[in-house]
């Protein structure tokens, strides 16, 4: 943490009376994958746009590579914005060469690298086609390549996997993991929690423009403690209802139908819960005291933040 790649210091951004980001501080350390999590409208994209110097924060400051964000750093940063955009009438490879050129690559280098990337992501054969002939998922991959072509030290991806089928999402995930393994830094935003849980070393969870959780994923889980239970029902699911609604045993439930993840109430224990469920006659195939999933942490934290009174937005 001695020299964070991105340092965000108490920034705020308002849009005509509406607060998008408020009092946000975070540090993205060098190397690894950093997740920026939050529900829709939490302020993730606004934060990323400020980091990318597309928007200027109303308050606070941002440093990238220890310097105020500026265009001079663009050769060291790769960026995939949330709303994808490419020139529809351009050829795929030609477009990649153009993007590489704006990042300071020589045209011949950009062309060679572009071809290699297209091969790697299964787009060989599409190099000379027009962008508009590609499916949306393919275009997303092309733009992803465009962000990586100049081998940036820092890669900022805004919702990189949204709209992709599982196969393509995995291809891109593997690339992201590869980048991080090579010692480079990835910052990406998502609202898909199990993805973040599998990939991220550190996360920040935002809700309503504010930070609600910040830290290494392992630390966060340890802090919340092993007070979570995962259940899978085989039969008589409804007989368990009274037990799960008992607030002396269960603090809250993330009910998935055939299974559920719940947080034990203060003073309750796993043993007592199991005993109560068996006595109620619910059929269980699985009962385990577990580390909480990121999703359940997310829901409990964001739910709490949503319930908290919102300060009036004074500009």
């Amino acid at each position: 943490m001695s020299d964070p790649v991105i340092l965000v210091d108490r920034i705020a951004k308002r849009f005509s009376g509406h607060v998008a980001v408020q009092d946000l501080t975070m540090a993205v350390p060098r190397g690894g994958i950093f997740g920026l999590l939050g529900p829709n409208g939490a302020g993730k994209t606004t934060t990323i746009r400020m980091i990318m110097n597309i928007l200027t924060p109303d308050e606070g400051r941002i440093a990238v590579f220890g310097r105020p964000a500026s265009r001079d750093l663009s050769a060291r940063i790769g960026f995939l914005p949330e709303e994808r955009g490419l020139y529809k009438k351009m050829g795929v490879l030609e477009h990649l060469v153009f993007l590489g050129e704006t990042k300071g690559l020589r045209r011949s280098d950009a062309r060679a690298r572009g071809r290699a990337w297209l091969d790697r992501l299964g787009l060989d054969g599409w190099a000379d086609r027009k962008v508009e002939d590609l499916s949306k998922g393919m275009q997303q991959k092309v733009q992803f390549i465009g962000a990586l072509l100049h081998e940036p030290e820092l890669v900022v991806l805004d919702e990189p996997f949204s709209g992709l089928d599982p196969v393509n999402a995995k291809v891109m995930k593997d690339v992201v993991v590869d980048i991080a393994r090579g010692g480079r830094t990835v910052l990406f935003s998502t609202h898909i929690m199990d993805q973040a849980e599998r990939m991220c070393d550190r996360i920040v969870i935002m809700a309503r423009g504010r930070k609600v959780v910040d830290g290494a994923v392992a630390d966060i889980k340890r802090e919340v403690g092993s007070r979570h239970v995962r259940l899978t029902f085989t039969r008589d699911r409804d007989k368990a209802r009274r037990v799960l609604d008992d607030r002396t045993l269960v603090a809250h439930v993330d009910d998935n139908g055939a299974s559920a993840e719940l947080e034990l109430a203060d003073g309750a224990s796993g043993d007592r819960l199991l005993e109560a469920l068996v006595r109620a006659g619910a059929g269980l195939s699985h009962f385990a005291v577990v580390e909480p999933s990121l999703e359940s942490i997310f829901i409990s934290k964001v739910g709490a933040a949503s319930a908290a009174p919102v300060e009036a937005a004074h500009a």
Binding site: I77, F79, E83, Y87, T102, G104
Partner: protein, 438 residues
């Protein structure tokens, strides 16, 4: 600078390779060549003379006069080898008149009759001299051109016959009434160019139209490309590595290059066609004398340079303004309305050009040459009439460059904020704030 080159190349290459550009560029010179060659071909076209019968109901001198005059009418004024009419003079007194007339009408327009077929019958009688009424029965009465030619040929004959009846010497009167014919020849750089005034006007007209459409079309190309970048959000990727000013500059120069290439090819074709007009026309079988009779202007190399220079300056001036308008809008629909002020300025330039045609070297023309938004039209057109002294040319260029810099500065201030502003269309007050803000 690398970025400007990259953006310029992108704008240029993606546009030059479109089918629309290739077709447009080829069709321009083709159209010009056709416009050039068509009159020559038409002139050479072998049209059979019209077979006109002068039917004299009351035989007298007038019928003979009419027939003689029509026989002398020629289709070409230069070589005078192709008669306009084939004339028969038929005298038919009172009792035979109707029968002759009926048989002639039966032959009118009858192709199967071959050489006997008649195109028109001209009826002359005693009252013609007094009333001036001449009856013409024919297949071609719907052609205003042919009827006018007929009237033009016959009127003096009636006048001549009336004068003779009154005992006045017709030849003396005709000689006295002969109107003056103004022969105009352009003087350029102290030399008579042999070019007619008509030709200069034609050149000014064509040049203005080319400028007008090129500025409008390519200006709007810049605008819609800005809107495309905004709506596709590709701007967000580019803006992290390219400054808005570089974007604007690259775009204007790239599209400008496309426009210059197209216009250069067109103007170059015009220059080649007009410089070698005599040789070219000769290849199509027209004599040098016939060529001199056409209003074909000459595009000199220095006019070519002035034309392209002022187009370039005007293009940067207007396309920067169009880019600023594009950056204020969120969709092509919105630009329809927002572009109106810029379009009005271009139209004003065209109107000013027409206004000074009557006096291209007057005070008004000189002042307009110094007004940046009309100078791209006014100065090259004035130059086409007669090359300007270099002081005036330099003054116009200086004014144009200063105006261009001012507009580019203003446009880039608006553009840099506009391209990243989404939501509703910017109000004038907001735009004014964008310009002021650091």
């Amino acid at each position: 600078m690398r970025n400007v080159v990259a953006i310029m190349r992108r704008e240029f290459m993606t546009r030059v390779r479109t089918r629309a550009f290739v077709i447009g560029t080829v069709i321009g010179p083709l159209l010009m060549a056709v416009l050039f060659i068509l009159p020559i071909m038409l002139e050479r076209r072998q049209t059979a003379p019209k077979h006109v019968v002068v039917l004299d109901a009351d035989p007298g001198p007038l019928g003979e006069l009419f027939a003689g005059r029509l026989r002398g009418e020629m289709r070409d004024t230069v070589t005078r080898t192709r008669p306009r009419y084939r004339v028969d003079h038929v005298e038919a007194a009172a009792q035979r008149y109707q029968a002759v007339r009926d048989s002639l009408v039966a032959l009118t327009g009858l192709r199967s009759a071959g050489a006997a077929a008649v195109d028109g019958i001209l009826v002359v009688n005693d009252s013609t001299l007094a009333t001036g009424d001449v009856e013409y029965v024919g297949v071609n009465v719907g052609s205003p051109g042919e009827m006018a030619a007929l009237r033009r040929a016959l009127s003096p004959m009636v006048v001549q016959a009336r004068l003779a009846n009154a005992g006045v010497d017709p030849s003396l009167v005709m000689q006295s009434l002969r109107p003056i014919e103004l022969q105009t020849f352009k003087v350029s750089e102290g030399r008579v160019t042999g070019e007619t005034g008509e030709a200069s006007f034609l050149l000014a007209y064509i040049m203005s139209m080319m400028l007008y459409f090129a500025l409008l079309l390519y200006g709007m190309t810049v605008m819609s490309s800005v809107v495309e970048e905004k709506t596709s959000r590709i701007m967000e990727v580019l803006v992290s590595s390219v400054s808005p000013f570089e974007m604007l500059l690259g775009k204007v120069l790239g599209v400008g290059g496309v426009a210059l290439l197209q216009l250069g090819l067109w103007a170059g074709t015009a220059m080649v066609l007009t410089t070698f007009k005599t040789q070219l026309a000769g290849a199509f079988g027209a004599s040098p004398a016939a060529v001199a009779n056409f209003a074909i202007p000459t595009v000199t190399p220095d006019l070519f340079v002035v034309f392209l220079l002022f187009f370039t300056l005007g293009f940067i001036f207007y396309s920067a303004a169009y880019a600023a308008v594009g950056s204020m809008c969120n969709s092509v629909m919105e630009t329809q309305q927002a572009q109106t002020p810029v379009t009005i300025f271009i139209a004003a330039g065209l109107i000013c050009m027409f206004a000074l045609l009557s006096e291209p070297a007057g005070t008004l023309a000189r002042v307009l040459s110094l007004v940046p938004f009309v100078a791209p039209f006014v100065t090259p057109v004035r130059y086409a009439f007669s090359p300007l002294p270099w002081t005036e040319l330099l003054g116009s260029i200086t004014a144009m460059v200063l105006g261009m810099l001012a507009v580019v500065w203003l446009a880039s201030r608006i553009y840099r904020i506009g391209i990243l502003s989404y939501g509703k269309k910017a109000t004038l007050r907001e735009v004014a704030r964008w310009v002021r803000e650091g």
